[in-house]
């Protein structure tokens, strides 16, 4: 195997006028890895992620995502990734089934495939009783699990998760992470942006952005050791406070 990397980023940069939001970042994410992408508010996380999912043109530098170039193949990237955000993931005014059908259509799945996926997904999540309920009426934890499954409808190589479990109760949050481990085990790459350090502790490796640059990248264990910190929260505070 020549290319075991799901994401390769080299000197990726984005400037807005005189402001450099992302400053020549370089890193690689392995296939099947759960990669945490951390940073304070305004550190440049969102800008970097927008470039990786093909919705923002980089100013300079290179990146390939799922084997496609962010400069020239952004449409192919969009077809090969999934995206889920805490802020927006599903339509509250559509039912569970309607959301699945809608996103299945967006991802270009056939009618037959959508039907199969829909059945399987509702069964897996135990949502049989609420298939015809509006998503807005579901508890947050159920919505999150459904949103993650919907982001995986088209069997993407990489799923981007933007602060996926903020505000969710601790038991449901763990069920959610178990879904993530399961997906990673099956070979899907998970790219998680968050500024919640307890989410970071679940990742295989994490990077920490400070003022547009990646200041640290390693496993949570090694980072804690290196910064002589008990938790990722302490690592983060040491880095961000300088």
């Amino acid at each position: 195997m020549k290319n075991e990397n799901a994401i390769t980023v080299s000197e990726l940069t984005k400037t807005f006028g005189t402001f450099t939001a992302v400053n020549a970042i370089s890193f690689e994410v392995k296939k099947g890895e759960i990669f945490g992408f951390l940073g304070a508010n305004g550190a440049g996380k969102t800008t970097a992620m927008k470039m990786l999912i093909g919705i923002l043109k980089p100013s300079s530098g290179q990146a390939t995502v799922a084997g496609f170039d962010v400069h020239t193949e952004s449409e192919a990237i969009k077809r090969n990734i999934g995206y889920m955000s805490q802020k927006f993931a599903l339509y509250d005014d559509l039912t569970v089934r309607e959301n699945i059908t809608f996103f299945g259509g967006i991802y270009g799945l056939s009618r037959k495939r959508i039907q199969e996926k829909s059945k399987q997904l509702i069964e897996d999540l135990g949502l049989g009783a609420v298939g015809k309920s509006l998503v807005g009426s579901l508890p947050l934890g159920w919505k999150q699990k459904l949103a993650f499954s919907v982001a995986m409808l088209h069997d993407p190589q990489i799923v981007f998760l933007d602060e996926p479990t903020g505000g969710v109760d601790p038991i449901t949050r763990r069920q959610f992470w178990e879904m993530i481990y399961k997906a990673a085990h099956a070979g899907t790459t998970l790219f998680v942006t968050t500024h919640y350090m307890d989410e970071a502790e679940y990742c295989n490796r994490v990077s920490i952005m400070v003022n547009g640059k990646i200041e640290a990248l390693d496993t949570p264990k090694n980072l804690k050791q290196h910064f002589e910190a008990a938790t990722m929260n302490d690592v983060f505070l040491k880095l961000a406070r300088g």
Binding site: L140, P170, E178, D198
Partner: protein, 301 residues
């Protein structure tokens, strides 16, 4: 007592948002309501700040009844709602002046109380509130909630969506406010912030699961708890869940927190079981329970 809540109920249609809630907060105490979205924290805040009527039960804040004495309560409490609710089109200074005027006071009169916090945003006092960063908005909202020198301060999820650095600064500010004899009721979904409170109530689905000091809540955890690690997290979780003697299996960062149903748990036996299921680099060690462990044990179906 600064806050007394007695058997409060509130439902929205079929949903019981608050189901028999009772607790007390002493004067000068920092009391935390800890729970996920949907626990009922905001409904409780709205009742205690006289913005919502309870279906049943009663509550007193700073000695006043939340239903009968609403005007007195409004003069004596500060409330920072979860959603940023200052005037986006007014500047930092205009917002502060507005709130001072509404309460019949001036910035100068109570400046000592907010000085610590306000100096950090004062360089931007001519900037419109809508143009501030998240951390700065939060500091302005807190300044506005304090400008009339309230006896009781209500903070609804002040740190949600805020990065760890700003979160830490915010809690340091609360600790300093407490020294100025203000009672603080704060809510948060983050279990790690619970340790910073004098007393906490763990809440889920409209109910209080337990009330105590953070230290006591952790001490009441009923079982020995073990952290278990192995080379493959997914396989480890699946295997532990298949172990016949498991009581609970919860991923916790790079480890899994495990409890056993038996009193005479033998880690060697579990080690053998895990090895037989192709796990390697196995690590089993007793560990101290966290507030999150306790929360999950209490909320366990």
């Amino acid at each position: 007592m600064s806050i007394q809540v007695h058997e409060i109920y509130k439902s929205y249609g079929q949903v019981n948002a608050l189901d028999n809630i009772s607790f007390e907060v002493k004067s000068g105490e920092l009391f935390g309501l800890i729970g996920p979205d949907g626990a009922g924290k905001t409904t409780l805040f709205r009742i205690l700040t006289t913005l919502l009527l309870p279906d049943r039960g009663n509550a007193r804040v700073a000695g006043y009844d939340v239903v009968r004495d609403l005007n007195a309560i409004r003069r004596h409490v500060g409330y920072m709602p979860g959603r940023f609710s200052l005037y986006q089109d007014l500047t930092v200074e205009e917002n502060l002046e507005f709130f001072a005027t509404i309460f019949g006071t001036t910035i100068a009169e109570n400046y000592d109380l907010i000085k610590d916090i306000y100096v950090q945003i004062e360089p931007f006092k001519d900037r419109r509130a809508g143009k501030l960063s998240g951390g700065m908005k939060q500091k302005l909202a807190l300044s506005c909630a304090l400008i009339h020198r309230p006896k009781v301060l209500f903070l609804d999820e002040p740190t949600t969506g805020v990065d760890p650095v700003s979160r830490k600064e915010f809690w340091e500010m609360l600790k300093r406010l407490q020294e100025k004899d203000i009672t603080i009721l704060v809510s948060t979904p983050y279990m790690d912030e619970a340790a910073l409170c004098d007393q906490i109530a763990l809440m889920q689905d409209g109910k209080i699961l337990e009330i105590d000091t953070p230290e006591a809540i952790v001490r009441h955890y009923p079982k020995p708890i073990y952290k278990v690690g192995a080379h493959d997290m997914y396989l480890l979780i699946e295997t532990l869940k298949a172990y016949p003697h498991r009581h609970s299996v919860y991923p916790f960062g790079e480890y899994v927190h495990y409890t056993d149903t038996r009193m005479d748990f033998d880690s060697g036996e579990l080690q053998t079981f895990l090895e037989a299921h192709n796990l390697s680099e196995i690590h089993i060690e007793e560990t101290a329970p966290t507030i999150e462990d306790t929360f999950m044990e209490l909320a366990k179906p």
